[in-house]
């Protein structure tokens, strides 16, 4: 059912954990639906210097968030904003139709984290 990339990221998720004093936090989804992701980012000179995630959800959800952290780490904010769920699915070698929403949630999580960061620096 799952590709080997999904299995790998599920068994060995990268960048798991909370971040001390994150520059931006994106919390998306909700446990009622069975999927929730928290993306933490640290930004230096407009580049995503560090990223961490916590996910409540199935293997596809965990794999999606894990691979997403790898996709945006070291990228500029501008580049990271280009992230699409299609990129996540492709990098994972595909997701079953019923699990594609996990990749969408990961995209939303990143964008929410960046939005949060922007709000903080703009002092809103």
């Amino acid at each position: 059912m799952y590709s080997k990339e999904v299995i790998d990221h599920f068994r060995n998720p990268r960048n798991v954990g909370k971040m001390e004093n994150p520059d931006g936090v994106g919390r998306v989804g909700n446990p009622t639906c069975g999927d929730e992701m928290v993306i933490y980012i640290r930004v230096k000179n407009d580049v995503i210097d560090d990223v961490k995630f916590e996910t409540y959800g199935c293997a596809a959800a965990i794999a999606s968030s894990s691979i997403t952290t790898e996709l945006i780490k070291g990228k500029s904010i501008k580049e990271a904003m280009q992230l699409s769920n299609k990129m996540v699915v492709d990098k994972l070698g595909g997701l079953p139709q019923a699990k594609v929403h996990c990749s969408v949630l990961a995209e939303e999580g990143v964008k929410a984290a960046i939005e949060d960061y922007r709000k903080k620096i703009e002092g809103i």
Binding site: P31, G34, T55, G57, C58
Partner: protein, 380 residues
């Protein structure tokens, strides 16, 4: 270690039952309806199986029919009764039925009235609720003998008694109890009953439908005269023979030993996780244990357990491909997160104490691992 704890989903066949089936594939393979010696032999094997299974559930052989599955038996019973009654007639089922009954009732709701009985926090139908739900135009009540997800045993005899008094037909989906609990259709006051071979170490693709003598209903599958027209189609003789043998072996198993192992697993989990939610009530089939963890999702737990060789199932939405989690747990009043975090362990006679101890240890590991990834960690 490979530990199979998903017996409510399906079971391994008893080797002896497999052996009994083999001649009927390549040696005595004739159609039991055929007018020659091999046909007669095949028929004899089938009728012997019928006699044995009927006797086992307290029925006459003429009241026992072979079908292709428990789902098929449920469909034949529910649709058969409904279509033989006026449109708009009233049907009562429980809200925790297997989809074979639930989905069928939902489809029938287009032309019939359906009441879905609520269940208690423990997942039990109340006889009082059945009594209050009965109307003048109620034609059928269907409540499962035991729930497949939690193992909760329903008060079937009592419900059947109400049906009998009010002259309403009563069907029970006994797919999870045939081969495990003692079944006596008269004691249960059942007019119809469904069973399925692959739940009691028989082959997949064959089931039973008990229908009390004198009950007439519409035949929803049409064709030849097999099974008195109730389920036409050349009979699955090897499957039927295998089913009877599996029933013979399974009903004689040491059920108390399985119960002890189930209780051992339950106690180990409760000790390791003091705030675990146990969804299986006291009055449950001896082999089933359903628990809920908070903060961790079922499919993730299942896959981690599977990595360690342990096979179980879950009520989470993700593990079923649905958007909604277990309708059974929700009907019991669980919130979504509790339902998403549920695990079902269903044992069989083939499990050992060593396997259970190993499983308990691996559950702790699996929960810890998934919890570490979750924003709902216990220890911050």
């Amino acid at each position: 270690m490979k530990v199979y704890l998903d017996n409510n989903a399906t079971t391994a066949m008893h080797q002896e039952a497999v052996k009994k089936m083999l001649p009927y594939f390549t040696d005595i393979y004739a159609n039991p309806s055929s007018m020659h010696d091999m046909g007669f032999e095949a028929r004899e094997a089938m009728e012997n199986a019928r006699e044995f299974i009927a006797e086992h559930i307290g029925a006459e052989p003429s009241e026992l029919f072979f079908t292709g599955s428990g789902t098929e038996s449920d469909n034949i019973a529910l649709r058969g009764i409904a279509f033989s009654k006026p449109k708009g007639s009233h049907i009562i089922i429980s809200s925790i039925e297997h989809p074979a009954v639930l989905k069928t009732a939902q489809v029938l709701e287009k032309e019939y009235e359906v009441t879905y009985l609520p269940v208690s926090r423990e997942g039990l139908v109340s006889i009082e609720d059945v009594e209050n739900a009965v109307r003048d135009n109620t034609v059928l009540i269907s409540v499962m003998h035991a729930n497949n997800e939690t193992g909760a045993i329903q008060p079937i005899a009592g419900i059947g008694e109400i049906a009998r008094q009010r002259k309403i037909l009563f069907h029970t989906d006994a797919v999870q109890t045939v081969g495990k609990l003692d079944i006596d259709v008269k004691g249960l006051n059942a007019d119809m009953l469904s069973g399925s071979a692959h739940k009691f170490h028989g082959p997949k693709g064959v089931g039973i439908l008990y229908k009390r003598k004198g009950i007439r209903f519409s035949h929803i599958i049409t064709g030849g005269h097999h099974e008195k027209g109730i389920r036409p189609g050349t009979e699955n003789v090897p499957g039927i023979v295998g089913m009877a043998e599996a029933l013979r072996i399974s009903s004689g198993a040491d059920h108390e030993r399985i119960r002890k192992l189930r209780d051992m697993l339950k106690n180990s989990i409760m000790e390791a996780f003091p705030d675990i939610i146990v969804n299986t009530p006291e009055n449950s089939v001896f082999n089933t244990l359903n628990v809920s963890f908070r903060g961790v999702e079922g499919e993730a737990l299942l896959l981690t357990l599977s990595q360690h060789g342990i096979m179980a199932s879950s009520g989470s939405a993700c593990s079923s491909g649905d958007l909604e989690p277990s309708h059974v747990l929700l009907a019991m009043g669980s919130d979504h997160m509790t339902a998403h975090g549920s695990l079902r362990f269903s044992l069989s006679a083939y499990n050992t104490e060593e396997e259970i101890k190993y499983t308990a240890a691996m559950i702790v590991k699996a929960v810890e691992r998934i919890e570490n990834i979750s924003p709902y960690k216990k220890t911050e």
